[in-house]
């Protein structure tokens, strides 16, 4: 059984399996295939690296999308 790690996603604490990648997290959030961008500890994670970027304990992630605005 893999250990859990604490991360913060959009300001909310969340427990994820150690070794969870950004791509896996997007899937867990039900956002697979949706237009989202991810920032990890204030650095953009390029889409091409979502599958290979593993979350680390204490990571702060922002998962964003476009909304209506002027």
């Amino acid at each position: 059984m893999s250990a859990n790690i604490d991360v913060v996603i959009n300001g909310q604490p969340r427990l994820v399996n150690a070794g969870t990648t950004v791509a896996a997290l997007i899937g867990e959030l039900g956002l697979a295939g949706k237009p989202v961008a991810v920032e990890r500890n204030r650095e953009v994670v390029p889409r091409a690296l979502h599958g290979s970027t593993e979350l680390a304990p204490g990571d702060r992630l922002e998962v964003v999308t476009f909304v209506g605005g002027g």
Partner: protein, 255 residues
């Protein structure tokens, strides 16, 4: 009449840029965008709402509209730059609307931070359209920084107060080398016509349409007003006179 305008390498025919905020539904957004005739539409960037099934992107046909992400809600140059890095990752066109707010009540821009952010973004290859005060010196600095256009406000964002200082807007139009897009403050069709008659290149509006009782009808009204104002500008208005000047012949009157 071919009356197109350009931003960098792109050519546009419509002179109205519309925001996508504050609409009741995606359907209304879609209809209002179509009625406005816009070719460029703005969007904002926010944390995903996991409970929402639809996103604004569902209302925007990317084959018809150029997406213009904004930095609304940013109060520092750093936040604005960071926001646009994320926007770029989301897949946008190369144009961005830079706004760095300096005061929460008026939403007036922090012009100093806006110039700083513009310089950084231009260096990174963004095509920057900055929202700014109706201040000629700020507009000149933004043009010097490499912005493709400047976007002075007509009145506070969402206020609908119209063109508060037409004189300043005209001075900016006459003295900066890039297109001037009036951004914010247009409340109804006549405001849009006035801005275009002053000679601005285009107008950006959101609440003026979305805040109307019938947004889709107002979007059409705005399209017509922008068109009318543009044509009036090109036609060149008659000089103002203090006293009457008869339209009918003043001789050969019957006695």
């Amino acid at each position: 009449m071919n009356d197109s305008w350009t931003l960098g390498a792109r050519t546009f025919h419509s002179r109205i840029i519309v925001g996508t905020g504050k609409y009741a539904t995606n359907e209304e957004t879609r209809e209002a965008l179509a009625a406005s005739g816009a070719e460029i539409v703005t969007v904002a960037l926010r944390r995903v709402d996991l409970s929402s099934k639809q996103t604004v992107l569902d209302a925007i046909d990317r084959s018809k509209y150029v997406l213009l992400p904004n930095t609304a809600g940013c109060y520092t140059a750093d936040e604005a730059v960071r926001t646009l890095h994320l926007a770029r990752e989301l897949g946008m066109d190369e144009l961005v609307k830079l706004e760095v707010i300096g005061d929460p009540k008026t939403l007036f821009p922090d012009n100093t931070a806006t110039v700083e952010a513009a310089q950084r973004l231009v260096k990174e290859g963004f095509k920057v359209l900055p929202y700014c005060s109706d201040d000629l010196v700020t507009c000149k600095r933004l043009a010097d920084a490499g912005c493709l256009a400047v976007m002075p406000l007509a009145a506070p964002i969402g206020s609908g107060l119209g063109i508060r200082n037409p004189h300043n807007i005209r001075l900016i139009i006459e003295n900066v080398s890039v297109p001037v897009i009036v951004d914010a403050g247009v409340g109804t069709a006549s405001d849009a016509a006035i801005a275009m008659e002053l000679g601005c290149t285009a107008i950006l509006m959101n609440t003026g349409i979305a805040g109307a009782r019938k947004p889709v009808l107002m979007a059409e009204a705005m399209r017509l007003a922008v068109d009318a104002g543009r044509k009036a500008f090109l036609a060149g208005r008659m000089p103002r006179r203090d006293y009457a000047n008869a339209s009918s012949p003043t001789t050969q009157l019957i006695e």
